[in-house]
């Protein structure tokens, strides 16, 4: 089953840059993580993203080449600064 859009979670400086903590991107699943990153880059605020932003799928760190399926929880993540 294909969905016409994919939801992506945003946090901290990225939530500020894109105006929210969750955004719908016009990318159908299945896709790869990089398709979502490129769609995000095309939006206002997209210049805020580094060349290779951090991404998690289902709460685990993944490469930009990782595949995304319907129902996956995707997060594009600013440089972490805990501690």
């Amino acid at each position: 089953m294909k969905s016409p859009t994919t939801s992506v979670l945003l946090f901290a400086s990225y939530a500020d840059a894109f105006g929210g903590r969750e955004i719908e991107l016009p990318v159908p699943t299945p896709c790869v993580v990089n398709d979502l990153v490129e769609a995000l880059r095309d939006l206002p605020g997209g210049s805020r993203l580094p060349a290779r932003p951090l991404v998690a799928v289902n709460r685990e760190w993944v490469e930009l080449s990782a595949s995304v399926r319907e129902g996956d929880e995707i997060a594009v993540i600013p440089p972490v600064a805990g501690g």
Binding site: L9, F11, A12, S13, D16, P50, A56, R59, E60, W61, A75, I77, P78, P79, V80, A81, G82, G83
Partner: protein, 154 residues
């Protein structure tokens, strides 16, 4: 004293003050010879700017999972290690603890290395961010990748 325990006894993202005494108590049992506690604290200056406070944001479920995974990996390397770890989020004042890691082991070197390794891994892998509030009223998300200096900061 309690009978021996080992492994991760506690790994949580919390929105309240960190209770250091509680963390220390959690990792102790009859077989422990050493405890190493690391505490990260909001300080008044960062990169030469005067800080008035800090707001911590997190991707909470992933941060909790990563914290737990990091602690579990440390315990997998050292079978007798006991770990309790908390990261606080929300608004913190200067002087308040943002993170605490308690590691207990029969021997001191293992307890000390574990606490050091866990804080380093936490800073790389746990999705938490800080918005620094400065005394001039401005605010800024901290980006440890923005400068080499910042990457070595506590």
């Amino acid at each position: 004293m309690r009978q021996p325990i080992a492994g991760v006894v506690h790994a949580e993202i919390v929105e309240r003050e960190i209770d250091l005494a509680a963390l220390l108590a959690m990792v102790q049992h009859r077989g422990i010879g050493a405890v190493s506690l690391f505490v990260g604290i909001v300080r008044d200056v960062n990169e030469e700017r005067q800080v008035s406070g800090m707001e911590y944001d997190a991707y909470v479920p992933m941060a909790a999972a990563q914290l737990s995974a990091i602690a579990s990996e440390a315990c997998a390397k050292e079978p007798d290690l006991v770990v309790a770890v908390e990261h606080r989020i929300g608004t913190l004042k200067v002087g308040e603890a943002s993170v605490a890691i308690a590691c207990a082991h029969p021997h001191r070197r293992e307890a000390i290395s574990a606490a050091g390794e866990i804080i380093e891994a936490l800073k790389k892998r746990v999705p938490v961010w800080k918005l620094e509030h400065y005394i001039d009223g401005s605010r800024q998300w901290i980006d440890p990748t923005a400068s080499a200096q910042a990457a070595t900061n506590a």
